[in-house]
């Protein structure tokens, strides 16, 4: 079984979100980049399949050289090899085109990507890849088993979950639940040393045009100060919620 895990390089969850160049670019100053959390859940599940079912795990990112540290981290976590498509990830459509092209050449049985990235929140890359390749597709995936060339997976739905079976090749949108937070693999020294020797191929992008462009960013309007209500004066809270905020 060959698995491709798509990795997005995103600002750490505690990062201050600011913009520069007249609010057209994200301010990376002082920001630490991490593996997109949804992708990391997918990667961990893939590494388990490698350990228990001899799967081969390739990680892929579309980005410039600044993304290489997180690819090395993925290798240290356990991926066998890495591919970097040397291009700026302009939009979800462009990224999906690049991933689809790598898939066509590599014939992967499973393609895993986070259900969404925590920076752009586009929630479209895995679905676009599935659509382009006409592979089966399950997103918000919270469990996965692969047996005899068939996948059995659970998808989180509003208010519950749904169990599905599907043939391969299959594209998965990963999220927490696929593995637990406590299952995430922290690379050890041996893993880090091995990662240095594992292949990291840099390939040029294929021709593709983005379908959209971000022209500017803005931050939400500053919020007024909190109105504190005394713990003994619940009536006032109810009155404020009813008459002022009009939410109850």
């Amino acid at each position: 079984m060959k698995i491709l895990v798509c990795i997005s390089n995103v600002p750490d969850t505690t990062s201050k979100i600011n913009f520069v160049e007249s609010d057209t670019k994200f301010d990376t100053q002082g920001v630490q980049f991490i593996i997109n959390p949804n992708d990391e859940f997918g990667l961990t599940r893939a590494v388990w399949l490698q350990q228990k079912q001899q799967a081969e795990v390739t990680v892929l990112t579309v980005g410039d050289i600044s993304c290489e540290p997180i690819l090395r981290k993925c290798l240290a976590i356990g991926a066998d090899k890495a591919i970097r498509v040397d291009a700026t990830a302009t939009d979800g459509f462009f990224v999906a085109k690049q991933i689809a092209s790598v898939c066509e050449k590599g014939s992967y049985d499973l393609v895993i990507a986070g259900r969404e990235s925590i920076d752009h929140n586009g929630s479209m890359v895995p679905g676009l890849v599935a659509g382009m390749l006409e592979y089966e597709y399950i997103t918000n995936c919270i469990s996965l088993e692969v047996e005899n060339g068939q996948a059995i997976a659970a998808r989180e739905i509003d208010g519950g979950k749904e169990i599905v079976t599907s043939e391969l090749p299959l594209v998965l949108g990963a999220q927490k639940g696929l593995v637990e937070e406590s299952d995430l693999i922290i690379p050890n020294m041996r893993g880090i040393m091995q990662a240095r020797k594992k292949p990291l191929d840099v390939i040029p992008p294929i021709d593709a045009v983005a379908s959209s462009k971000v022209t500017s960013f803005e931050k939400p309007a500053a919020k007024g100060a909190v109105k504190l209500v005394d713990a003994e004066d619940i009536d006032t809270l109810i009155d404020l919620l009813h008459n002022e905020a009009k939410v109850i």
Binding site: P11, T13, T14, I17, N38, G92, F93, I118, D119, N121, S123, M124, V125, P126, G127, L128, A130, G131, M132, Y137, T139, I152, E156, D158, G159, G160, K161, E162, I163, V164, T165, S166, E167, K176, E181, A210, S211, S212, V214, T215, F217, E218, K219, P220, K223, G224, V226, K227, L228, V229, A231, I234, D235, L237, I238, L241, H242, A245, V247, I248
Partner: protein, 318 residues
């Protein structure tokens, strides 16, 4: 040309999000001088959509229309969209709509913009404001495609009534082939989901243990609210994962969010930025949540909650 909206229904009745996407679709149709087409699946009675300005309801029938399949539904919507020469598609942010949107985008060679929070500021080229960085920022996005799918953030536009007398038709579309089979569905019934709720009551580690959640549940039931929790609470198994709210959990965009014993870590707040009104109850006046909240009570949850429950019962009964 026309605007199309996918109006979801379940067990014969429309979801609240269907009325919101129809309301937005109507405003968009007016903005672009076009008609509004609503697509439904296995929903014989589309008359409820007459309150939201829909001009035509196309109900897709046939065996596959009874069970949601992202691939089959996307193919069917694409078929209607091509027949009606649709250039703008509006879908909700429900799990199912977000699932099928990228598949539909590929079928229609359309651009897809998710988490949209307002009507376009321009329609040529289509320019949309959407939330990003898990609600910590907004971006303005310009599309260069002639066909566009707009994924509307829940509760961002609201429901606006406009009477119309829609023509109702049914249609059998080609069934897309798929090897995927849904073998079972587990769904809690009788409780409101976070996605549909107007009010969400959320508990954090400050509630000390799962045995105390009856307080959260009782408060939620009086308010007709959904229950939610912080990440450690779901990690420790006090509450199901489906209730985990925040950057790595679910986003919430309700009218009211009440957080009890939640400190207000940046990753938690990221998930609830879109809630209209936030209330915090926390024993620690220094808890970061007070900076993000509209109303707050500094106090012990075990003192405050029983009182709040009693007072709200009286309020609701009045």
């Amino acid at each position: 040309m026309a605007v199309l909206t996918y109006t979801e229904s379940e067990n014969g009745s429309f979801k609240k999000s269907a009325f919101e996407v129809a309301s937005y679709g109507k405003a968009l149709a007016d903005q672009t001088g076009q008609k509004l087409v609503a697509v439904t699946f296995n929903q014989e009675d589309g008359s409820a959509l007459s309150a939201y300005g829909v001009d035509l309801v196309v109900n897709i029938t046939g065996g596959f229309s009874e069970t949601f399949s992202a691939k089959k539904f996307a193919a069917a919507i694409a078929q209607v969209a091509s027949e009606k020469e649709v250039n703008l598609v509006v879908i909700s942010s429900s799990a199912n709509s977000k699932y099928l949107a990228p598949l539909l985008a590929v079928k229609l060679t359309a651009a897809y913009t998710s988490n949209v929070v307002a009507l376009p500021s321009s329609t040529e080229p289509l320019t949309l404001k959407r939330s990003c960085y898990t609600s910590k920022a907004f971006s303005t996005v310009t599309s260069n495609q002639p066909i566009n799918i707009i994924g509307l953030s829940s509760n961002a536009f609201g429901i606006i009534e406009t009477q119309s007398t829609p023509e109702q038709t049914s249609m059998t579309t080609d069934e897309a082939s798929s090897s995927m089979v849904v073998s079972s569905v587990e769904k809690v019934t009788g409780t409101i989901t976070i996605a549909d709720a107007d009010i969400v009551v959320s508990g954090g580690r400050g509630l000390k243990g799962p045995e105390n959640w009856h307080l959260v549940e009782e408060l939620a039931s009086i308010l007709g609210a959904a229950t939610a929790c912080s990440k450690p609470v779901s990690d420790m198994g006090w509450r199901p994962h489906s209730e985990h709210v925040g950057q790595t959990g679910k986003p919430v965009a309700s009218n009211l969010y009440i957080a009890i014993g939640v400190s207000g870590a940046i990753q938690h707040l990221a998930g609830i930025n879109s809630c209209k009104v936030k209330v915090v109850i926390n024993i620690d006046p220094e808890a970061p949540f007070f900076k993000a909240a509209d109303y707050g009570i500094v106090g012990d949850a075990f003192d405050v909650l029983p009182k709040l429950i009693e007072k709200l019962k009286t309020f609701k009964a009045a």
